[in-house]
């Protein structure tokens, strides 16, 4: 099976003052001032909702790195959220509440899991890759259910957020929001540096034609594996943030439909564009929130919307803005 995505190698290097650039700038600016709005109106819920948006956007950005630029459709990305979250939760339960330990542990554990899954799954391609990443994530889900000491099926409450030796107080909601925002910007920066580097060119080249990349001498497997591990580590950090955000973790966080949500965010925003996953995360979570206020049966509308996006809207929201069709 050949790689299924149309290569648009120039997409990331294209000049930025386009409708999509403007949209990305607007979204970033709005996110930057959102706590001010929340403070002025006393709308604490908006702050909570958008903290969640930021955290899941980090997850979507990391998924976009492998899926959008690398053509690796990983259907197990929620596992990293869970591993990162459980790293924080388990350490907190065992009395280690320093964020200087917890967060690196979350990143390291996710990276290690990504390494194992990557070594096994990157040997395969196409639909095998989708299903294998899905299956391993499901394994982690069941492992978490089996962890009786850490709540099993019921989940685990985290009584203290990660401590940063008095430097940062994550209980301050506005501060926590800006921590998430800064980490989102950092992950966007890292992804943009990666995809525009020589390393990134190999990854993107392997998406278009892996055989050719190998023929000209690149060991694509190793490149893809490193990329896969970077994405996993990044999403693990998002998991650590999510655990701090909700003060609670449970296996439900890793259910495979959560991985589906992340894929939806990336595709909705526009595959393989830097800010696409951010826009996708904002749109998807707001849509979800809006629909559930509007009707008792939100997925009755959301489901067909996704189907229509899959059938008609290639390139997601950014693709629509560009008026270009892919695939």
């Amino acid at each position: 099976m050949t790689a299924s995505f149309d290569p648009s190698l120039d997409a990331a290097t294209r000049s930025q003052l386009t409708p999509r650039g403007a949209l990305a700038a607007t979204v970033l600016a709005a996110l930057a001032v959102l706590p001010v709005y929340a403070a002025l109106t006393g709308d604490g819920f908006a702050l909570t909702l958008f903290t969640r948006v930021l955290i899941l956007a980090i997850g979507a950005v990391s998924l976009n790195l492998i899926m959008g630029y690398g053509g690796m459709v990983s259907f197990g990305h929620a596992a990293y959220l869970g591993i990162g979250g459980y790293a924080v939760g388990i350490l907190a339960k065992e009395g280690v509440d320093s964020g200087f330990v917890q967060w690196p542990a979350a990143i390291a554990a996710s990276a290690l899991y990504a390494l194992v899954v990557g070594v096994l799954s990157l040997r395969t391609r196409g639909v095998y890759f989708i299903m294998i990443t899905l299956a391993f994530a499901q394994m982690i889900y069941y492992v978490a259910i089996g962890l009786d000491r850490y709540g099993g099926d019921d989940g685990l409450t985290i009584y203290r957020r990660s401590q940063f030796a008095g430097l940062l107080d994550l209980n301050n909601k506005t501060l926590f929001y800006y921590v998430c925002f800064a980490l989102l910007l950092a992950s966007l920066y890292i992804v943009s540096r990666i995809v525009n580097s020589r390393f990134g060119l190999v990854i993107r080249g392997a998406r278009s034609n892996e055989r050719r990349m190998r023929a000209i001498g690149f060991p694509t497997f190793r490149y893809k594996l490193v990329c896969f591990v970077i994405a996993g580590a990044m999403c693990g950090l998002a998991g650590a943030l999510l655990a701090n955000h909700t003060n609670f973790i449970s296996p439900a966080l890793m259910h495979w439909t959560r991985s589906g949500d992340l894929i939806v965010m990336v595709v909705l925003g526009g595959l393989g564009s830097l800010f696409g996953p951010l826009i996708g995360a904002v749109v998807f979570l707001l849509l979800e929130e809006g629909l559930s206020r509007l009707t008792e049966y939100p997925d009755l509308i959301l489901g067909p919307v996704l189907l229509l996006v899959a059938i008609y809207a290639h390139g997601g929201i950014e693709g629509l803005l560009e008026g270009r069709r892919r695939g």
């Binding site: 096994l120 040997r123 299956a135 189907l307 899959a310």
Partner: protein, 305 residues
């Protein structure tokens, strides 16, 4: 020893159930090249249909027949309305579109049947146990599941390998354009194949309904097991799906029953109690990983893919 035989039979029964699900998935993937995440929804629908028809008709057997027929129709309608528009898309779009369908069906079931689950009770003659070998009694209904699934596996084999329709299905998998050019209504053929997959999934749901509760999302986790089965068996291979389904069913069931005890012998009680459930749920994924290392295309790879 008796317990072991019983657990093995339970494993075979789970394997048969997985085969019914995996056969539909692998058929649809092998022929239409479609990744269908909504397959579990058809399993769920089958169970809800059966529970509903059982209440309406009062007969278990009639309910099963009607539920399978309804699943077939539901699958064919779904294919005509939505799925066929996805064939020309890439796998990621399949994932997105059928994920949307899964959300839609879960919500639709909640709208129609309500958030509480349903139960499907067995007729009294199914509630007894029979003595299969001296000293081992086994619930007759579970034996019925095994036999029915075996019969379906045989029918499926005859249908695909021995009939004209099966020949067209195989030809359609090999070269769609050529079959269409020869005057075969390939769209109708696809609709039928998808409906067949839906009916198999529906039947699996029907058979499982009396054992578990009929509830929303019941197809989601078992769908992943069916994926594991077709990865191990080789995507597109029905024979592979059968072998892998029995393997997965046996290893999962036997692992869950005996691994915790085995751990107790080598580890402290505390460590075994923590590790046991976690490890035994990992066993089939370990099997999958092992198969992938040695046979990345599965045990029965389909040529030309």
């Amino acid at each position: 020893m008796l317990y072991f035989v019983e657990q093995c039979l339970n494993g075979v029964q789970l394997g048969m159930l997985l085969f019914l699900l995996a056969a539909g998935l692998t058929l649809v993937f092998g022929i239409m090249d479609l990744v269908n995440l909504a397959h579990g929804s058809l399993y769920m629908l089958g169970a809800y249909f059966a529970a509903t028809f059982a209440v309406l008709t009062g007969s278990f057997v009639i309910a099963i027949i009607m539920a399978v027929a309804a699943s077939l129709v539901a699958g064919m309608v779904l294919e005509t309305v939505a799925i066929r528009r996805l064939y020309s898309r890439n796998h990621l779009d399949h994932v997105l579109g059928t994920f949307g369908l899964l959300l839609f069906f879960n919500e639709l079931v909640r709208l129609i049947w309500g958030p509480a689950g349903m139960t499907l009770s067995l007729p009294p003659e199914m509630l007894t146990a029979v003595q299969i070998i001296p000293g081992v009694y086994y619930p007759i209904y579970r034996l019925v599941i095994i036999l029915a699934a075996l019969a379906i596996a045989a029918l499926l084999y005859v249908l695909v390998m021995r009939t004209r329709l099966g020949m067209l299905i195989r030809a359609g998998a090999a070269n769609r354009q050529m079959v269409a050019a020869l005057g075969v209504n390939i769209e109708l053929l696809y609709t039928f194949v998808f409906g067949l997959g839906a009916a198999l999934a529906g039947f699996a749901g029907v058979m499982q309904a009396p054992i578990l509760t009929v509830q929303i999302g019941m197809g989601e986790n078992i769908l992943i097991l069916a994926f594991v089965v077709i990865i191990i068996g080789g995507i597109g291979s029905i024979r592979g799906a059968f072998v892998a389904a029995v393997m997965v069913g046996l290893i999962d069931t036997v692992g869950r029953s005996f691994l915790p005890d085995m751990l107790h012998r080598v580890l402290s009680t505390n460590a075994a109690a923590t590790l046991g459930p976690a490890l035994s749920s990992m066993s089939i994924y370990m099997l999958m990983a092992a198969v992938l290392v040695f046979r990345p295309e599965g045990l029965f790879p389909v040529a030309g893919r």
